[in-house]
Subunit: 186 residues, 2 copies
């Protein structure tokens, strides 16, 4: 029966094409997401780079995050600073809703202040000093207002004694604002 | 000849399915790009919002751009500032290559300095003052080092006299750095 043979052949041909096209759909659909995930996640963190007490690490890609506000800290620290946040943080700031949701990450970058070589009246970033991170996880950090803290110099966490001071200060001075000092710059 | 009829029917069926699947491929592939374009472009600009002389507008979405550096400007301006840049600007800064390529956009946000209510030693952004934009287009702005300038208060460009001052100062003080004052914060 050559016609049944031919029909079978055609069927398997159709099946093969359909499968190939479906595979193409899946691949083309996934590629942009896979690329963004790969770009967003960056290299895995070493646990030696995690802060004492809290286990907070410097989040990959934070330099690309949106600015929440710059700040200046007078002598003796004499620093320029800039706080950036992940999308969860930005969304919460824009909605003006407290407390910040779990998953919020805030990163404060800091530099020694330096006079601009072109403008006597302008102060610009000198050497980078610290990177300070706050991570919201209301269960994991229930004892510290839901916040985990990390303070890093040259990418390495400072000692446990310094990390013991974070919560007391945030608790005492920023309780009414979910323990976060920085406001969204207008 | 019912077998030819059936074959024709099957063929048109296969064609329809293939077309439908291809349409699905195209749609699913394009959706992420269309979404990013829509999010990136924002609302169209009004020409009344363009700077005199240069026709520079405030670029949509600039608040999401990556930070290049914060700065502080002493009295009488007494401001905190933050310069952000589009991806072309960031790539050029990271490559350390001058001149900046066409398409570079730099935006300086500025705020009155204000003492933090929680920390006497900290200065934070008060009211927003100006937004200042530099756009690189070596042909369009050939007479001003390839740069177009815009200075905006409350989203509206300041007058022509103020815009006449931009180039002279950048030319005199930042010639060796493609007329850009701001350096990438380390």
């Amino acid at each position: 029966m050559p016609s049944i043979e031919a029909e079978k052949k055609e069927h398997s041909y159709v099946t093969a094409i359909t499968l190939a096209v479906l595979l193409l759909v899946v691949l083309l659909t996934c590629v942009p997401y896979l690329v963004s995930i790969a770009l967003a996640e960056g290299p895995p963190q070493n646990t030696a780079d995690a802060s004492p007490i809290f286990g907070v690490t410097i989040p990959p890609g934070y330099k690309q995050w949106e600015l929440i506000a710059p700040a200046e800290e007078a002598a003796p620290l004499d620093e320029l600073r800039a706080v950036v946040g992940n999308q969860t943080a930005i969304d919460a700031y824009q909605a003006g809703k407290l407390p910040f949701p779990d998953g919020t990450i805030l990163v404060k970058r800091a530099w020694k202040r330096k006079q601009s070589p072109e403008f006597a009246s302008a102060t610009i970033p000198g050497a980078a000093t610290t990177v300070q991170v706050m991570v919201k996880d209301s269960k994991k950090y229930a004892a510290t207002g839901g916040w985990g803290f990390g303070r890093f110099i040259d990418g390495k966490p400072v000692d446990e004694a310094q990390h013991r001071t974070c919560w007391g200060c945030h608790e005492a001075r920023a309780r009414s604002r979910d323990y976060v000092f920085t406001r969204l710059a207008p």
